[in-house]
Symmetry: C2
Subunit: 187 residues, 2 copies
């Protein structure tokens, strides 16, 4: 997203208009015409930058999350993930988050972009945090970092997509403790 400053001002206005329209419209009822009217641009301006509605919504999501999900190396691994998972639950439960999940689950192409433009970067940062904790002797050296992250993030997506529930702070806290400590009685 570091090219944004070089882009015309109207690009950001179109993304903002998309977010505004999603506040009162479902993804399926959202139209490019309505976004264009809201942003005060023509439809052709929108189609110059975005192939279709799904790609426009994905970009609006990326703009929204740009400033979220920062890790803080001074905090414990538990506190870092607590903050991350709470931010994730909040954003996935917002209008733009729900619309993004809809298009990601429906389209392999959008899912790929979601992975490359959002998940991969965030997961790499999270892996560095896990690796630092391994190096400090806090976490087991043999753990699989991808599986560890699926254990932390998977249940959040699962709760929202399948249970239609927003994981709260207590849930997230319990989740972290279970992942960190395991469920088996130590021998």
């Amino acid at each position: 997203m570091n090219v944004k400053n070089k882009e015309p001002r109207s690009k950001k206005e179109i993304l903002t208009a998309t977010l505004e329209m999603l506040e009162s419209n479902s993804y399926s009822s959202l139209t490019i015409e309505a976004i264009a009217a809201q942003a005060g641009v023509g439809k052709t301006t929108i189609y110059r930058w975005w192939e279709n509605k799904a790609r426009l919504v994905l970009d609006a999501f990326l703009m929204t999350v740009e400033s979220e999900f920062e890790f803080d190396s001074n905090k414990s691994i538990q506190d870092n993930f607590k903050q991350q998972l709470e931010a994730l639950a909040r954003i996935l439960n917002s209008k733009i988050g729900k619309s993004t999940l809809t298009i990601v689950t429906e389209s392999e192409e959008i899912a790929k972009d979601f992975y490359v433009l959002f998940l991969m970067t965030k997961r790499n940062e999270a892996k560095q945090l896990l690796q630092a904790a391994i190096d400090m002797g806090e976490l087991k050296p043999a753990i699989n970092l991808d599986i560890t992250l699926d254990l932390l993030y998977g249940p959040i997506y699962f709760q929202i997509l399948i249970y239609k529930q927003i994981p709260d702070a207590d849930y997230i806290n319990d989740l972290l403790i279970h992942v960190l400590e395991g469920i088996t009685v130590a021998n």
Copy 2:
């Protein structure tokens, strides 16, 4: 599903026709007309039992999973969940599984039925298995059973819905070990 034997033979034929049609059609391109033609019944017969396409597909899913997901009390908890998660990954990755996930993520109403008619029963069985392992001193008594099940099932749904990947036997094995043993170095 125990009322099935009392239902007309054509009900099962319609569900079977739905499964057959989904083998070569996407959910969105599937029509009630085509299913009716495949089953050799009229459209009105279908609408007598199912309000819409989504409910028909959910019922076809429930018919498919009826014989899957049995727990075996003679097996270890690890082996039981290994078998369960492998069966889950297989079914969610099938045509009927993918279609069901699509309608569950799209509709709160279908998600509720999916929970009541499928997830809740399966989770209650799984909780009994966890409780038995707690009673035998194998699992920690203080664990939260719902969170434990989200840790096991959440990553499977996450991999399929967001990563568009099918978790294989190695992944499931590693997942189980991480959940059972945790990731923290014991003090």
